[in-house]
Amino acid sequence: MDVMDVMDAIPADGLSFAMPLLIMAIGGIYCERGGVLMLALEGLQGFGAFTGALSVVLCLPLLGAGSPCLVYIAMAGAMIGGMSFSLLHALLCVRFKAQQVISGMVINTLAMALTTFLTSVVNEALTSQVSNRFQIGASERFTLPILSRIPIFGGFFRNMYPFELVILAVAFVSWHVLYKTRFGLRLRACGENPHSLDAAGGNVGRTRVIAIMICGALAGLGGIFVAYSVSANFSPSIYMGYGYMAIAAMIFGNWKISPTFAVCMFFGLTKSAGYQICLWLGMTSNYTDLLLVIPYVVTLVLLVFFSKRNQPPRALGDPFDKGKR
């Protein structure tokens, strides 16, 4: 294998690992900055991936394989699916004032059970075969014309999935909304001091529900990205811990979007670099596993230096009680 191929593959693979992580983590940031604990990212991304894959499977006979619309249908399906499933979290946390850790675990357990069950039901109805996976293939890759010719950094713009641009755009918009708009300010107030928002005439419950719904939509988008690119199908193997990794990235990024972006990129790049170096050296798969430890170890080491001033949102995990103080 040529060195240039390796240099090319590292950023391409790194992006395809970092982007879903980033968008899920941003979802988590919205939810937790709004003061609601979000342990349900794993379940929400899985459910989003399920609805996205389902809409692809349903639309495939109408549009034919290879239609460019499929990607957008998948994304829309995933965002709607993730958003509607997150309403359960909103109902439990905001309306019923439930323990938010439990609510997150409920979502994770339910999502895993429901999607596995529904996938086999749908498969049986559509193809009369018993299978717990939707084969949806991977979306087309493309290369950006001019940017890809930049030396070294060009690798980021070759062999891109369409999702990556969408996610970058969404990430930028969500950054703008969170820090530069009235809604974003209110949302952050919900997480720091909900009573001040209440006193200012805002509606804490409604703001939190919207935050949770945004989180669901973004997590769903992350889920369909994984299903429609890297793994090329929807199956229970979607629950392989991406959601938990995103939670880790969010906390490492101190509940702020730009540091979280850096964490996700760092994580994706070290992961793909380790993998590509193994391929390049022609190591057996056993040793690859050992090198795949590197990103996690380095993250732990970095945390030692960057955690000193980490501070979660103050009202995180407290159900809002108007009468309390």
């Binding site: 323990q99 880790a248 732990l300």
Partner: protein, 373 residues
């Protein structure tokens, strides 16, 4: 003085004495009702399905048994998987009392199970030496891993969720590497079976003509319930942990060593998770699947919360959840309903238990409106 049935019920639900028992019972009933409705909607008989869960767990006799097996065989197997579940949920409870969320139970289980298997499981030791060693190694490995997480939080303010998730992945890859290169069984693709003398289950015991495997783990788990309760209720360190969990600043003001409490809570929690690991990998099973974190470590979080973070209640909640997990296979084979129903039932249980406070509040306000409260 006329009190209608509904008023008695409401009083029962929100009374100071009765509420802590009434709400869980109400939750269990509600989730049974809703899951029965779901089973009916799918075209299965809910009564048969619910009975099948119990039968699969050895709590009700099955209509027929294979040769040499009986209800006792199933029940012993049920106790075998109940033990790690209880230990793991105790681990989550102990850490949460200090305000630490131990999401690393899976990693601690895997590491403890792996090291105990590698160091003792393949050595030719008599069972009298091997079994205590396995337990010791399990507790020590888990305890050290937990303590590491506690120290990272104490010294560098590293959030325990992040370090636990990182350590989970590292453990999974590293143990996977060693199993694949050194201890692999070429046929099953998991690690070679550990020796019978080191396993915390006495397999193939004949009792009155039936064979059963006696799980020693359940003894460890029951002891652990008492130890955890003693530590929390009767020791200074346990009291410190509870204060830290309730209000860290107040604890510091009162002179409780906050950092040391974190480390202590996490090392005890880790040790419990390590014990769960050895009772799981060298008890219920006898080998380790490489690169797979046990999902039991995550389920334990749910079980701990279902038991409202009290050690005795965790015994009941792990029994309940284990009935559905263990009986799920038999239920599926009897009724033809998918296995995932078991997970749905567990999720419903959790869902309603999360609403426990809401149920109590509603009962109280309903009583208030009648002017009886």
């Amino acid at each position: 003085m006329r009190t209608g049935i509904s008023e008695t019920l409401l009083r029962w639900l929100c009374g100071d004495r009765t509420s802590s028992a009434a709400v869980p019972i109400c939750v269990a009933l509600l989730s049974t009702l809703v899951s029965s409705a779901a089973l009916l909607a799918l075209g299965h008989d809910p009564v048969t399905a619910m009975a099948a869960f119990l039968r699969g767990s050895g709590l009700m006799p099955k209509p027929s048994y294979a040769g040499g097996q009986s209800m006792l065989t199933d029940f012993m197997s049920y106790l075998g998987i109940l033990a790690p579940m209880m230990l793991a949920s105790l681990s989550v409870i102990f850490c949460l009392k200090a305000g630490m969320f131990n999401i690393g139970v899976s990693g601690q289980m895997l590491a403890a199970g792996f090291l105990a298997t590698a160091l003792v499981g393949y050595a030719k030791l008599p069972s009298g030496a091997a079994r205590p060693l396995v337990v010791l190694i399990g507790a020590a490995v888990g305890g050290l891993m937990g303590a590491a997480v506690g120290y990272l939080k104490y010294l560098f303010n590293i959030h325990e969720v992040v370090s636990c998730i990182m350590i989970n992945h590292i453990t999974s890859y590293v143990t996977g590497f060693f199993i694949d290169t050194r201890y692999v069984d070429v046929i099953t693709r998991s690690s070679r079976a550990c020796s019978a003398s080191s396993r915390l289950t006495i397999a193939g015991v004949r009792m009155g003509g039936v064979r059963a495997a006696i799980p020693l783990g359940i003894l460890i788990a029951i002891t652990a319930v008492f130890v955890v309760r003693f530590l929390m209720e009767r020791t200074t360190a346990g009291f410190g942990i509870k204060i830290v969990g309730l209000n860290r600043d107040a604890a510091r003001y009162a002179g409780v060593p906050v950092g040391r409490s974190y480390v202590f809570a996490m090392s005890i929690g880790g040790a419990l998770a390590g014990l769960a690991g050895v009772t799981y990998y060298l008890g219920y099973y006898n080998s380790i699947v490489p690169k797979a974190l046990p999902s039991l470590g995550y389920d334990a979080i749910a079980v701990a919360l279902l038991g409202n973070l009290s050690p005795p209640a965790a015994v009941f909640s792990s029994m309940l959840v284990t009935i559905f997990q263990k009986g799920g296979v038999y239920m599926s084979s009897v009724t033809g309903a998918p296995r995932e129903i078991a997970s749905v039932v567990i999720a419903l249980l959790l869902l309603f238990s999360a609403c426990g406070a809401y149920i109590r509040e509603r009962a109280r306000s309903a009583l208030g409106k009648r002017g009886g409260g």
